[in-house]
């Protein structure tokens, strides 16, 4: 092991400010900055951020204005589910070619919209801009406006040119598009005890689980942003009496704007893990100041916990004392993962995010134990170094990180948009524990320890 450690020194000076060990240095971690060239950042782009947020809207046409690659790499890679149409699962692209880059792509975009309207009769089209669209100067706002007049449907531009910032900028661009979509001049009559649920993309049906919980305590969900959402449903959002935000990284901005525009207060919540789920349900009931609801919450918690405690304690026994490393997209995920690991008896020894904000890192710092390495916008070399140094048994990350973990003989949990099982609520907590168990306690790790026939 030692030979390996000496071989992996951190050699990029510019990266030092982005890495800290709790208890060792008293420094403010740098974050929310641009990636350093040549550092093999794991980050995606603005467009990616925007598409993640908007793509779950099921009855929309998602049209990517740009060269083919940007569309190819994002076609149907998310596991958002729909209860109705599957239109959103198609990848539409203007497939810009050399001559479009030279002469501009506005006309092609307009024709593309016309064709799609004729073929699909959709009421809503999102037009995403990619890097080169920003450079060649296509005015997608104007094209969308004209198309809207031509077709009497919503055609919403998403300003997601990839190089102006990172994924967070994409979230913001998506939120701006959502705001323009739900914009209304009409007087709104508020629906009592109704909420909008922000920042759940209905991966593997997560939004459905939460809808059910809330229905059982007497709260209706007006709109989910954006899991399994439809155009009509989104338009009802301003009438809700409360916004609850799960993924704050992508949705805090939208919540703040809606508070200002439609006077909807918001609560930051989390349905990840048993503890958070229970706290969240209680907070909602408390917010509505409704004793009957509070009672229903307790019944629900009692019922649902009962279903999962045996299984969870089995996993806990198996996993107690193991060490986890976390490298995920946003701060919210990292924070809830630290808590979830605690629920199954594991300690987080390394934690990082691609786009965490200063206050996320403050929270993280408050949660982790001494000696935990915290890092922002990490690269493979750093992940490798700290996984080994910190003796992690498990890494939580996305597809790109998985093979690295495996090559290091470290277990792995997928925490991205492709997963096929829900992680929210009480069921989700069990799923999470089961997945951790299935990788940490797999017999294959015994095989890699085995001596080879030639004695190595």
């Amino acid at each position: 092991m030692n030979a390996e450690l000496s071989a992996i020194e951190l050699s990029i000076k510019e990266r030092e400010d982005f890495i800290a060990t709790k208890g060792k240095q008293k420094k403010q971690l740098r974050c929310d900055a641009e990636s350093i060239a040549g550092c093999v950042s794991q980050r995606a782009c603005v467009f990616c951020g925007a598409r993640v947020v908007l793509n779950p809207i099921t009855d929309a046409i998602h049209l990517i204005h740009g060269p083919i690659g940007c569309a190819s790499y994002t076609w149907d890679i998310r596991g958002s589910l729909s209860s109705g149409t599957e239109l959103y699962r198609n990848s539409f692209s203007t497939d810009l070619k050399e001559q479009d880059v030279i002469f501009g792509g506005e006309k092609k975009l307009a024709r593309a919209i016309d064709e799609l309207v004729a073929a699909y009769h959709a009421k809503l089209i999102f037009v995403y801009s990619t890097c080169i669209v920003g450079v060649i100067g296509d005015d997608i706002e104007a094209v969308c406006r004209a198309a809207m007049v031509r077709h009497h449907i919503k055609v919403i531009p998403v300003q997601s040119s990839g190089f102006i910032g990172n994924k967070s900028a994409g979230y913001r661009a998506a939120c701006d598009s959502l705001l323009s979509l739900i914009h209304t001049e009409k007087k709104i009559s508020k629906k009592p005890k109704s909420v909008n649920y922000l920042g759940d993309f209905n991966l593997a049906g997560e939004a459905w689980i939460i809808r059910d919980y809330l229905a059982r305590i007497g709260v209706t969900v007006s709109t989910v942003f954006t899991g399994d959402a439809s155009y009509e449903e989104l338009k009802t959002a301003p009438a809700a009496s409360l916004n609850i935000i799960q993924c704050a990284g992508s949705m805090a901005y939208l919540a703040k704007q809606m508070e200002e525009l439609y006077h909807i207060p918001y609560l930051r919540i989390s349905f990840l893990g048993i503890e958070d789920t229970a706290v969240t349900l209680r907070n909602i009931a408390e917010y509505f100041e409704d004793p009957e609801m509070q009672q229903k919450v307790e019944i629900l918690i009692e019922e649902e916990s009962r279903k999962v405690t045996d299984e969870l304690s089995f996993y806990r026994k198996k996993l107690e004392g193991k060490k986890a490393a976390v490298y995920v997209g946003g701060g919210f995920k990292a924070i809830s993962l630290i808590k979830q690991f605690r629920e199954i008896g594991m300690e987080v020894v390394m934690v990082g995010t691609q786009t965490g904000q200063p206050d996320d890192y403050d929270t993280i710092n408050g949660l982790v134990t001494e000696g935990t390495v915290v890092l922002d916008d990490a690269n493979p070399a750093e992940l490798e170094k700290f996984m080994i140094e910190q003796g992690a048994n498990l890494l939580v990350g996305g597809v790109k990180e998985r093979p690295l973990a495996y090559k290091l003989g470290v277990a792995f949990v997928d925490h991205n948009h492709e997963r096929k099982h829900p992680l929210s609520g009480f069921v989700g907590a069990v799923n999470f524990a089961r997945e951790v168990y299935s990788t940490v306690c797999s017999p294959v790790w015994r095989s890699i320890q085995m001596k080879t026939p030639w004695g190595e």
């Binding site: 940007c70 190819s72 790499y73 539409f92 890097c131 080169i132 190089f163 690269n379």
Partner: protein, 470 residues
């Protein structure tokens, strides 16, 4: 018979291809101790890494110059040089390959000049190979060959005759590359195979972990490609302008032999015969037996295969080889499609169909997308699809089973281990197709027959209704 859509399409619906730098990364990953830098915005490189690592289940480190707004307006030179610095420091590669993306090309970056300047400024004598690969300039298939050509252009020096054979492989699986190498060794051919990602993109589990995997075509061997006896290039559909073999022929007079990927009996025969002619060696008995076994397998499954009506899609070179393999087994390729622009493919498949006197006419489409492939497949009654994972769309939407091969395979495990070349690989490929046809039949034939023929013990009203429906 075939149709080429030129410049009339405004929407690509469910793409069948990826962009140029993607192919460039794959090619560079097959060169010894090489790191790749993408000059452009961060997102492109992250997306491509993600796609590639999903297929191969390997860590794929690719640097990016992470162009931001400033770099985009004032030029990204500083970013690219910083990227070189950091890559050298962390990875200690023996070579760096630089690819561009749409963004870098649109703002007119001259990576060749920047690289040369970087080397001069730092007094380095170091190989940096550059390949301008704007995503909008072509698909990953062209990006792949073009980058291989740039590698050879950058590294090959005038060399003594060395009587080796240069082998340029198209984008086949690591398992395929290993099989090609096994055959070359069996026939005692001395060769330089490029790009060789059989180890780098399918590495064994070993500790300690190294950031750049072992393996890949040796830089020294590429340097000496100019002195080879001949070049064998699996590139029937590859345009001269992006052909590495063509470069060696023009520049150093190395004779070039262009052959299909050896998938299928005839395609493999072409490969073996050529090797024998070039080296004057013998075809060992074991290889003769492999051929015999393949022929035996073809006979065993011919009746099942003759019920196959296939749609083949993917990179032009692969599609062409597969068309041959399907035709010789009666798995009629009714739809032959690629997302790339490639008129040669049309001509080649047309010629092949004419030569074989087929009873049917394949529909050949280039610059295609899955909307078109789906439409054609349904219209023509295709019952098996052959190609990469994005075709799962056909499986899901139209119930046409998909035999996975090519790139990318992202919804199944083991894309790197799919073996389809040579006599043995072909037999394995054929079994996969035949068994897919059989599985579909066995799953449905009881119900089908029942629906078609069962009219009840005594004729009932229901049966009459059924009769009407059938």
């Amino acid at each position: 018979m075939s149709r080429k859509i030129e410049g009339v399409k405004n929407v690509n619906e469910n793409p069948c291809n990826m962009c140029m730098p993607m192919g460039g990364i794959l090619a560079l990953k097959g060169i010894e101790q090489t790191m790749v830098v993408l000059h452009g915005s961060q997102g492109c490189s992250t997306y491509m890494r993600r796609h590639i690592s999903q297929h191969f289940n390997e860590p794929i480190d690719v640097g990016s110059s992470s162009l931001n707004e400033k770099g985009t307006i004032y030029g990204g030179e500083k970013n690219l040089k910083q990227a070189f610095n950091n890559i050298l420091r962390v990875y200690h590669p023996q070579m760096i390959g630089v690819l561009t993306t749409c963004l870098a090309e649109t703002i007119g970056e001259d990576v060749e000049r920047i690289a040369a300047e970087y080397l001069r400024e730092n007094k380095l004598n170091y190989p940096i190979v550059t390949a301008p690969t704007p995503g909008y300039g072509g698909s990953h298939a062209e990006g792949y060959f073009f980058t291989v050509r740039r590698i050879v252009e950058g590294l090959a020096k005038k060399a003594e005759k060395n009587y080796k054979i240069n082998i340029f492989v198209s984008n086949i699986s690591p398992a395929d590359i290993r099989e090609i190498k096994r055959i070359l060794d069996l026939m005692q051919v001395r060769y330089t195979l490029c790009p060789d990602f059989s180890d780098t993109l399918d590495r064994p589990y070993v500790r300690p972990y190294t950031k750049i995997p072992e393996g890949g075509t040796k830089l020294a061997d590429i340097a000496e490609m100019s002195g080879a006896l001949a070049t064998v290039q699996m590139g029937m559909t590859v345009d001269e302008s992006i052909s590495p073999g063509e470069y060696l022929r023009e520049e150093f007079g190395v004779p070039l032999y262009t052959i299909p990927i050896p998938i299928g009996l005839e395609n493999t025969d072409i490969f073996i015969k050529l090797l024998q002619e070039l080296t004057g060696g013998v075809i060992p008995l074991s290889l003769q037996n492999e051929r015999g076994r393949l022929v035996d397998a073809m006979i065993d499954s011919h009746k099942y295969n003759f019920e196959g009506r296939s749609a083949i899609f993917g990179e032009p070179e692969l599609v062409y080889a597969l068309a041959g393999a399907c035709i010789e087994n009666g798995i009629m390729p009714l739809v032959v499609a690629t997302g790339s622009k490639n008129s040669t493919l049309c001509t080649l498949v047309q010629d092949l169909s004419a030569e074989k006197g087929l009873d049917f006419i394949p529909e050949i489409v280039t610059e295609s997308d899955f909307k078109e492939i789906r439409g054609l497949s349904v219209a023509k009654g295709v019952n098996v699809a052959i190609g990469h994972s994005d075709g799962h769309y056909l499986e899901e939407q139209e119930n046409i089973p998909l035999v996975r091969l090519g790139f990318p395979i992202h919804d199944r495990i083991g894309g790197q281990r799919i073996l389809s070349v040579g006599y043995t690989g072909t037999a394995m490929f054929l079994d996969r197709v035949t068994n897919t046809l059989l599985a579909a039949k066995q799953k449905s034939y009881r119900q089908t027959m029942y629906n078609k023929f069962y009219r009840g013990k005594e004729k009932s009203e229901v049966a009459k209704y059924e009769l009407l429906r059938v």
